[in-house]
C-alpha cells in the first residue's frame, strides 16, 4: 500500500478518470478520439483492480492478474478497432461518426 493514502482516495481518483472517459466518449465525434476515451475508462478499471488487491488482500494476486488480462484485452481491442478505422477511412475518406452513414439505411 502507499503510505498515508487510503483506498477511498484511489477509488475516487479512478471514478473521476472513468467519468472523464465517459464525457469524452459522449462528446467526441472522431472515431479515434472516442477510442482514446475508451482507453481512459479501461485504465481506470485496471487501477481499481490493482488497488483493491493491494489494500484488501495483498497475499492473493487475483486483482493483479485480472488487471494483466484487462491490459492484454485492451491491446487486442485497440489493434482490431484501429484496423477497422483505417479500412473505413480507405472506404469513405473520413473518420467522423456524423459522416459515416454506410449502415444507416
Amino acid at each position: 500500500m502507499i503510505e498515508g493514502v487510503s483506498l477511498i482516495e484511489i477509488m475516487s481518483l479512478t471514478t473521476i478518470l472513468f467519468f472523464i472517459g465517459i464525457y469524452g466518449f459522449l462528446t467526441r465525434t472522431n472515431l479515434i478520439a472516442m477510442l482514446m476515451s475508451l482507453e481512459l475508462m479501461v485504465n481506470a478499471e485496471a487501477i481499481n483492480f490493482v488497488a483493491i488487491n493491494k489494500y484488501l488482500s495483498p497475499n492473493i494476486l487475483q486483482g493483479q492478474i485480472f488487471s494483466l488480462f484487462i491490459i492484454a484485452l485492451a491491446a487486442a481491442e485497440t489493434a482490431l478497432a484501429l484496423a477497422i478505422i483505417l479500412h473505413l477511412y480507405r472506404l469513405t475518406v473520413t473518420v467522423d461518426v456524423k459522416e459515416v452513414e454506410e449502415l444507416k439505411y
Binding site: 500500500m1 471514478t15 462528446t27 482514446m36 485504465n43 488480462f69 491491446a75
Partner: protein, 169 residues
C-alpha cells in the same frame, strides 16, 4: 507524490478529451498512461508498472499515433460540436461521478490490511501458470489464442479489397 500523480492524471485526462487537435490529444493520453504506471510503481507492483509502460505507453500509443498520421488529421482541428450538445453529457458525467464518489465515501465496510507484503515477478508467473485450484492457466491460454485471432483478423481487415460502389446502385 501520490497527489502530484493524481493531479497529472486528472488534468491531462481532461485535456485529452477536450483538446481540439487529435495529435495533441494523443500526446496528453500518453502522459496519463505514464502517470498511471507511476501509480503502479508506488503500489510496489513493479511488474504491472512495467507492463503498463511497455504495452500501453509503448505499444498502444504507437498504434494511435500511426492511425492519427494515416488519417491526415494532425494539423486540422476536429469538428467542434456546439456547447448545447455538450451540456447533457457534462451533467450526466458530473452527476454519476458525484453519486459514485458519495457511495464510496459512505460505505463503512472497508477493512484495510496494513501488512506490508512484497510481490515479485516470480509469484505472478507461478500464479499465471499453475493448474491447481486458484491457478490461471486456462485464461492465459485463452488469451494467447485470442491475441493470435486478433492478429489474423487485423491483417485480413487491413488487406481487404476496396468495396466496389457500382455494385450497390
Amino acid at each position: 507524490m501520490f497527489y502530484i500523480l493524481s493531479a497529472i492524471i486528472i488534468i491531462f485526462a481532461i485535456l485529452s478529451v477536450t483538446s481540439n487537435k487529435l495529435y495533441r490529444a494523443t500526446m496528453y493520453l500518453l502522459f496519463v498512461l505514464v502517470a498511471v504506471s507511476g501509480l503502479y510503481f508506488m503500489m510496489e507492483y513493479d511488474f504491472m508498472g512495467a507492463v503498463q509502460l511497455s504495452v500501453y505507453a509503448g505499444g498502444i500509443m504507437v498504434l494511435f499515433i500511426y492511425a492519427v498520421m494515416m488519417t491526415d488529421n494532425i494539423g486540422k482541428p476536429m469538428r467542434n460540436i456546439s456547447w448545447k450538445r455538450k451540456i447533457l453529457p457534462f451533467i450526466i458525467a458530473i452527476g454519476t461521478a458525484g453519486l459514485a464518489i458519495y457511495a464510496i465515501f459512505s460505505y463503512q465496510g472497508i477493512s484495510q490490511t496494513h501488512e506490508a507484503t512484497v510481490t515479485n515477478v516470480e509469484q505472478v508467473g507461478e500464479k499465471l501458470l499453475s493448474y491447481k485450484a486458484g491457478g490461471y492457466v486456462l485464461p492465459f491460454e485463452v488469451i494467447s489464442i485470442l491475441l493470435l485471432a486478433v492478429m489474423i483478423a487485423a491483417i485480413v481487415i487491413a488487406k481487404a479489397k476496396k468495396l466496389v460502389n457500382s455494385e450497390k446502385n
